[in-house]
């Protein structure tokens, strides 16, 4: 008689992966247990309000930041400064700290095998980790927005001058500010996806954390400073951190905004898909992944460069934008519009006169450097003469000169260069107190993708 061997019953032991919601909760618990994540969230909810209130009370304002020179005028400017500063510098750092570490941390702790045994599905782990990192980002972003608004309300809810000088009621400014925060979610997702990709590729290497941060800051510099065709600039996800600026002109510059959001979503989808494919192919029998630069270039950087090129091609084909997007015609139109609005404001505050911008029939004539220089592109050598008609005074024409410092992203600073009684520096009495002459220095914006 021989003994027979059977295997243990399997009817209740079929492989059962943990559901995504449970894995997501597990990931969220781990993320929120980290002090640096808690501190980051707290900073996002407290920092902007304190900053807006403190900076608005200072004599010198951050005029380099968009709407910075208006922080005395209205609290809404402070809330917009928060968005502008966060878009330029803070979001790349935030996304790299959160998303850039979400996979790397398992490599650093040596917990991948443990996690796989517990969850039993790499796919669900990927989904849960991605969702958890986005959730933490979504805990930070509303904090920045709400905190900035609260700080602005403490400073004072007064009308805001848009980027073409047109007056915006507090309600209008608030609505557009909230919409602008919604718009920057797209590039935040793109940067988070790039962070996930770096985290998957580089494992426990510190590059996983540093690359998204420095890559993001590099893209910010590229989209704001480096000379390149407008379509190529718009095809970077970082451009969408700036393209909300177009909401604050009248009419709004929606082309750049829509293109920026679409490009950001394309980057987000591509980077996430790459991260997913790489993660699913990973061999978890090795304890940790130290990453490799060669692999990063072939499976990470090159595909994203291809997305950049493709997006630039689509934007160029759709809009016909081939050059820098900045030319004399656009600057003249933008400057004349802004001047008209600020002239009306100045007249109200100094002479208590009520004009409309249309009555002024303002025009501008701009030239860049000397005749030997191409009359297009960014630079601080744009010089413009503004001409307007004085309402009520027959055939009386006024003229003022401005020096323009035009950034590659279409933003410019107009600096009054005479006559002094029009655009020189003097203090006038505004509803909120003494303020510089609004025609002395102001910010403006040209639409890079608008036809020349």
């Amino acid at each position: 008689m021989t003994a027979t061997a059977t295997t243990a019953p399997s009817q209740v032991l079929a492989p059962s992966a943990i559901s995504v919601p449970r894995a997501y909760r597990f990931e969220l618990v781990k993320l929120l247990a980290q002090w640096r994540v808690r501190i980051l969230i707290a900073l996002c909810w407290i920092g902007p309000a304190v900053t807006v209130v403190v900076v608005s009370g200072q004599g010198t304002l951050p005029s380099d930041t968009l709407f910075g020179r208006e922080m005395h005028a209205t609290g809404w400017a402070g809330a917009l400064v928060v968005l502008s500063f966060a878009g330029s510098w803070f979001f790349p750092l935030l996304t790299s700290v959160v998303a850039g570490d979400v996979f790397s941390s398992e490599d650093r702790l040596g917990t991948w095998r443990h996690l796989l045994v517990a969850v039993r599905s790499p796919r669900r782990i990927f989904v849960a980790k991605s969702l958890a990192s986005v959730t933490v980002l979504m805990m930070c972003v509303p904090g920045l927005a709400i905190s900035g608004i609260v700080g602005g309300l403490v400073v004072g809810s007064r009308p805001l001058a848009g980027l073409d000088g047109h007056p915006m009621s507090p309600a209008d400014a608030a609505g557009k500010l909230l919409f602008a925060w919604l718009c920057v979610l797209a590039p935040i997702l793109a940067f988070a996806a790039i962070g996930l990709l770096a985290s998957v590729i580089f494992g426990r290497s510190p590059i996983a954390l540093l690359l998204p941060a420095f890559g993001g800051l590099g893209m910010q510099l590229a989209s704001q400073v480096l000379p390149m065709p407008a379509a190529v600039r718009v095809a970077l996800p970082s451009f969408a951190f700036l393209s909300w600026n177009g909401l604050f002109t009248s009419p709004p510059q929606l082309g750049s905004l829509i293109a920026g959001i679409a490009v950001s979503l394309a980057w987000a989808v591509t980077a996430t898909a790459l991260a997913y494919v790489i993660f699913m192919r990973r061999d978890f029998t090795s304890l940790a992944n130290d990453g490799s630069m060669r692999r990063a270039i072939t499976v990470g950087i090159l595909p994203l460069l291809a997305v950049w090129a493709a997006a630039a091609g689509v934007v160029a084909a759709a809009t016909g934008a081939t050059g820098s997007g900045i030319d004399a015609g656009k600057l003249q139109q933008s400057l004349a519009t802004s001047f008209g609005h600020f002239y009306v404001l100045q007249s109200q505050q100094v002479y208590h006169l009520s004009y409309t911008a249309a009555q002024l029939r303002t025009t501008a004539s701009c030239a860049k450097g000397s005749d030997l220089v191409d009359q297009e592109g960014p630079g601080n050598d744009w010089r413009c003469t503004v001409t307007w008609r004085l309402p009520g005074v027959s055939d009386a024409i006024g003229q003022a000169v401005y020096q323009l410092d035009v950034s590659a992203n279409g933003r410019y600073v107009a600096d009054g260069d005479g006559p002094n009684q029009v655009n020189g520096y003097f203090v006038l009495h505004a509803p909120y107190g003494d303020a510089p002459n609004p025609l002395w220095q102001f910010d403006g914006l040209v639409d890079l993708l608008a036809p020349a």
């Binding site: 027979t4 061997a5 019953p9 032991l13 079929a14 492989p15 059962s16 781990k30 095998r113 978890f284």
Partner: protein
Amino acid sequence: MLTEASMQRSYTVRARGLTKCFGDVVALDGVDLDVLAGQIHGVVGPNGAGKTTLFGLLLGLAVADRGTLEVLGTQVGRSHAAPDGVTGFVDGPALYPALTARGNLAALAALRGPGVPRAGIDDLLEQVGLTDVADDKVRGFSLGMRQRLGLAAALLTKPRLLVLDEPYNGLDPAGKKHVHGVLTRLAADGASVVLSSHRMDDVEALCSEVTIVSVGRVVFAGPLAKLADASGELDYRLVTSDQEAARRVAAGTDGVRVVDDAGTGADRDVMVVRALLPALDDLVPRLVRAGVSVRELTPVVSPLESAFLALTEQQEQESSR
């Protein structure tokens, strides 16, 4: 006569011809493994023998290139994950340092759903002797404490097969006692435990069967008793009431050699004899008849360790040829 129970032997693990390669490196080469339900099975072997790779296959972390693996009645392979009821750790337990001991277990329990109440977590912490540090961050835990918490984490899912790689690393005697107790109770409840250890005394104390692997191949598999039979002559420490008389009796017993006759210094009350088990069985009554009390008779090197060394050296020599 075979009983019905012994006829129906239930296997938790049945592996046949498992082969796993990493590039040019053959980590496992045709490995067979049988683990019965309710059995604590030791897998021993030198570093790089393939133990961790084998454990990775059992846990579903990797898939064998060739061979078949059946765990808890389920085929495990490229398209089939390890079944529910299998848990454990390789290369030490993995825990999250920002969470407390209780927090780690609670987070893992929440993964599985609302089935594990707080009392269950407290009970597990008590079983592994970590109640006093339950609310401390794992960041400050010693290796032994982490091992015990890792075991508690593995027990959360009420496993049918527990796979533990070096669970005794860093454990103090109290910790070892806790782990022994937990594993023994688990096996008594019908679960199987597969563990590896470089501490042969621990393996001998816990395991009923062992598999010795060397350079990716199985060089022995079976009960420990069979291993002792196969291991040939062993050296034994012998302490008696009269060492001089004992030495004379041992020298006069067939199959027994006194290999340490120094009898000087601190060890003058200890002698070492070399013998097969039957000869040793003959020596003990002879000593008693000679009026010599036997106070200690223990192998200098355990049968498992001795066999392990002999078998692995032999395998390595064959591989190097």
